[in-house]
Symmetry: C2
């Protein structure tokens, strides 16, 4: 995985939140993030925005992996369902391109903590 | 606006991203955020996760304002449309509760930069 290309490369924002990109290839990706105090919401749990940021990053990595290492697409829309709150520990997001059209990619993502489902998302990315 | 209650109070995560809560009352809210280097994505623009975090925070403030200062609800699902990229400067999110049921709140949010529409969202919050 090259660190000179967007595929597998951390953005400033993904670094701020402490994400780790495990995989980004063939339209699939895996990105991890651990609970930290600065990710807390008013309920004392992981903020929905932090969780969404993990999802959006994983979706981007999956989509970009089909552009030979270029950031050739960006998020047009995304729908997220929150299923289980995150209090501590590590969560893992797996994302994949369901359909790669000429103009848009349709993708899905799942966030899990161990074998527990934390959130699901479906998204459309627009190609440059 | 009390700083001892969740309505109008910054979470650790909203502080990390540099948000300012202008208003949270009667089912409506306004929250601001400025572009900073640590919010950048791989395209050199504001990360979609940062933008979504602003939206989710504004939605929460609007919903919580109907619970007399308590964080009485949380995000169940949200759909966001990204319309215009943010390169610099300040963006403002206005959110409001469209329907306050006993079990769920239905909300909408809009993000603008000046008179330009940046993103829209519709969400469901579940009441505790």
């Amino acid at each position: 995985m090259s660190h000179n290309s967007p595929v597998g490369q951390d953005s400033a924002f993904s670094k701020l939140l402490g994400m780790t990109i495990d995989k980004a290839e063939n339209g699939e990706s895996q990105v991890r993030m651990s609970m930290q105090d600065h990710l807390l919401n008013l309920h004392g749990r992981m903020h929905g925005g932090a969780l969404f940021s993990l999802i959006d990053t994983a979706l981007g990595q999956a989509s970009h992996s089909l552009f030979g290492g270029e950031a050739g697409s960006m998020t047009l829309e995304c729908k997220v369902n929150y299923i289980r709150a995150v209090n501590e520990g590590e969560i893992v997001c797996n994302a994949r391109v369901l359909n790669a059209g000429r103009k848009v990619h349709v993708l899905e993502a799942r966030v899990q903590q161990g074998d527990k489902l934390v959130a699901t998302a479906q998204a459309t990315f627009i190609c440059k």
